[in-house]
Symmetry: C2
Subunit: 479 residues, 2 copies
């Protein structure tokens, strides 16, 4: 039991210092490690297994909607990056430059991809010739590099893992429908699989992706009231197509430009999981992406028959859930603390008396509720518990968001709430003028997160200038 | 039918120019495309789907043998790369150097990983403290960069995709057993899933991995008689552990060094598939990794009921095999040529008379044999055909290798056979002296590929110096 105490007390309390709590969880739950590569992280087996589960679910959704995976080079020649003016302006300041191959200087320097629009466009110019070649629905899973000054595990890292979809369509309508479809897939994945409620909306012009006509995003409110941009989907119009001279012959035999989208989610989502569901005992994982969904902890395992029964239970559950039996020599108390730290959704305790009574005890990680359950239909019982966890996590996260969402009609009100209650979503009416957006940020410290698809009108005046309001916008402090 | 002709004739004959034939297949089967990034390739959806199938099979084998996936940074600081002397000497001449982040020069330049031993070692030094922490069995799927002068799609590319396993063990015996286990997994995968016979053996010292004590490899003979190193597995002893100061407390409470391995296979295997099985009509894919295992081509599809029956057949087969129905308006002849080019193992032709007779025609890609098959047990029939294709491909590749394997006792004999019959495996007895190895290469043009585990002794003298022979070695021209 000494170990248990030590382990739990080693995590900073989230109320005391949320940022340190976050880093503690990343390290103590063995999600990441640091290395001598500054600003990059090592994703350890437990962290990477979460990412593999995320990939598996999303990849199946992408394929089910007709997308195909490809792999583009990780380098972009400087001249190629420069082809689209807004794009290079947005990314050039934060790319890593390769200048030498072996001992020889390169004729043209190459950046390590911060995103791959330019490479996809060059390829699309080669392979899109006729309307029969459209749509092109490509995606790639890879790592990208952005030379950030300040970094934090998962949330902002010089290298991170992601997927980037890049699609080409015959009409603007089709392309816009694609951006919406993919945003929906991201939103459903967050709400259903990650149990993280999200706001779906459009970014204001000041916050658009470099080169996009419109950027759509999902925003999630973390436990501390700050907002995490959890996924984005961009509509490019034919801007890149013109810059890269991608033309095809349409049904009327005319040479025309196609319309383009891109969309992506990253390992940042793991940060979102931690900050939405975690607590002072450690990580809390939504079942869909938990590497271990149920852990069996034998009680009094030295007694005859206990380990055999525990192993039999593991074997029974193996087809239904990702189950692990911990038959190590650590005490049950140590194991409880260990798997709470690791965020395993369901713990199954099985001791001599349980075995005799044909039952076991199930403890759900997020609320530590104990239930005694018959072994007879244990497969169903565990599955039901996992669904209970998922629903419970979602409800708790939604309640947190609701408690921290404020409709304000003055900037003073925003300031007062922040001073009194802390961070959250501030629903503010806005005239659409970027100057007001900037002023709101300067005066209150919150920035525009998105113009939600679900609009509400709690006032008809801009919160800043008092002129007629055009949009209700979510503002928050952002990660 | 005009299209069909054009398509087939567009591939250079393999007898005429094997290298051009190879590149033609890569392009015409839509496996790759080039970009403005010199020496790198774009892996297109059809090529990437092959890689995904390879990954899925191998990843399951790695996990079944206790390995866990991780992700290390893609950059290695110069000082870290330099920690192991032999390693840096081997790799520094061919790495890409990042010197700037945004507009600022870096304090220390970083190379893009050519392989990740150094990163894994740094991490292992952090996390291996006790004998309880061993073994560590880690793997990662990623891309690596080696600044090659001459490049060819899949075979030698400045960036390529691979997996790299890195493991740590308490004893040399355990570590050596691991290198052998992983080589076995690679060999079985090649022989069973890719239908490529391989020779398993150890590399001579001149051909070892930079920093390894021993390198094991599988070598496959391509259709043109040249050899492809298809996978390697390295035993490091405690060399890196000493260089990186990785120490742990053993059961006797002493501080000791662990023993290490690494092993990898790459997208190069796709090149091996092309060059082992392909023919003048295009790619020929082994069923286990074929993105489409069976394609249904309706005949006279304008006739009533044909498309409906074809779709019903597709739906029936979808649970058993990766099946595609091509109901496009192209002619059956065009489709036959298209899917032959793409190497789809089995084609199913279904026309009005077939439907009436309750049958279909199955054509196997590798030998173009036609069989009329009842629709009644079509699932089993297609599965059997796929196994027939696999076995047929393996037998053909093995026959090619046997016809091209020569046991020679003089270097003149090697030269005469190469002049008369072309390339192949040359089984030569060797005294073990690197000077003889070098002289064999200079005089005959073939290099040592491996010392096979299955030794044969067709002479007791070194083929070069006449002194007592220690090993039988496979020599060949290598890709």
């Amino acid at each position: 039991m000494g170990n248990e105490k030590k382990m739990v007390s080693a995590v900073t309390s989230m109320e005391e210092d949320f940022a340190r709590w976050y880093t503690d969880i990343c390290m103590k739950a063995e999600l990441i490690d640091y290395s001598s590569v500054r600003g990059c992280m090592i994703i350890r087996p437990y962290g990477y297994a979460i990412w593999e589960n995320i990939q598996k679910i999303l990849d199946a959704k992408f394929k089910a909607t007709g997308h195909e995976n490809v792999y583009m080079p990780m380098f972009i020649p400087e001249s190629l990056l420069q082809k689209e003016k807004d794009h290079v302006e947005g990314f050039a300041p934060e790319v890593a430059w390769v200048t030498h191959g072996g001992s020889e200087p390169l004729a043209e320097r190459l950046c390590v991809r911060p995103t791959s629009e330019t490479l996809f466009c060059e390829h699309y110019a080669n392979i899109i010739k006729s309307y029969r070649d459209l749509p092109k629905l490509y995606n790639q899973w890879c790592s990208v590099v952005r030379w950030e000054k300040t970094t934090r595990p998962f949330l902002r890292s010089r290298e991170f893992l992601w997927q980037e979809g890049h699609t080409m369509h015959a009409t603007p309508e089709e392309a816009i429908a694609e951006t919406e479809r993919m945003l929906s897939i991201y939103a459903d994945f967050h709400e259903h699989d990650l149990a993280i409620p999200v706001v779906r909306g459009r970014k204001t012009d000041s916050d658009k992706f470099a080169g996009a006509e419109a950027t759509y995003a999902i925003e999630a409110l973390m436990h501390d009231g700050k907002s995490l941009q959890a996924g984005t989907s961009h509509y490019f119009g034919d801007g890149f197509a013109r810059a890269f001279d991608i033309k095809y012959t349409d049904r009327e035999n005319k040479l025309v430009y196609p319309y383009q989208t891109s969309w992506g989610v990253t390992t940042r989502m793991i940060g979102g999981i931690i900050m939405t569901h975690g607590d002072d005992n450690g990580l809390v994982l939504p079942p869909a992406v938990a590497p271990v969904q149920a852990v069996i902890v034998p009680v009094a395992q030295h007694k005859e028959g206990v380990l055999e029964a525990a192993e039999a239970l593991r074997a029974r559950l193996a087809d239904t859930v990702r189950v692990k039996l911990d038959d190590s020599e650590n005490s049950p108390g140590w194991k409880y603390a260990e798997y709470e730290m690791k965020g395993v959704p369901v713990r199954i305790e099985l001791g001599p008396r349980d075995i005799e009574a044909g039952q076991c005890v199930i403890v759900t990680r997020h609320n530590r509720e104990k239930t005694t359950v018959s072994l007879e239909n244990i497969e169903t019982a565990v599955k039901d518990k996992l669904e209970e966890v998922r629903a419970g996590l979602y409800a708790r996260a939604l309640a947190n968001r609701e408690a921290r969402t404020f409709a304000c009609t003055t900037l003073d009100e925003v300031k007062a709430i922040r001073a009194e209650k802390g961070d959250g979503f501030f629903k503010l009416m806005w005239c659409g003028d970027p100057e007001c957006e900037e002023k709101i940020k300067e005066e209150t410290g919150v920035t525009s997160r998105c113009i939600p698809f679900e609009q509400e009108y709690h006032s008809d005046k801009c919160v800043c200038c008092g002129k007629p309001a055009r949009h209700m916008v979510y503002f928050a402090v952002a990660y």
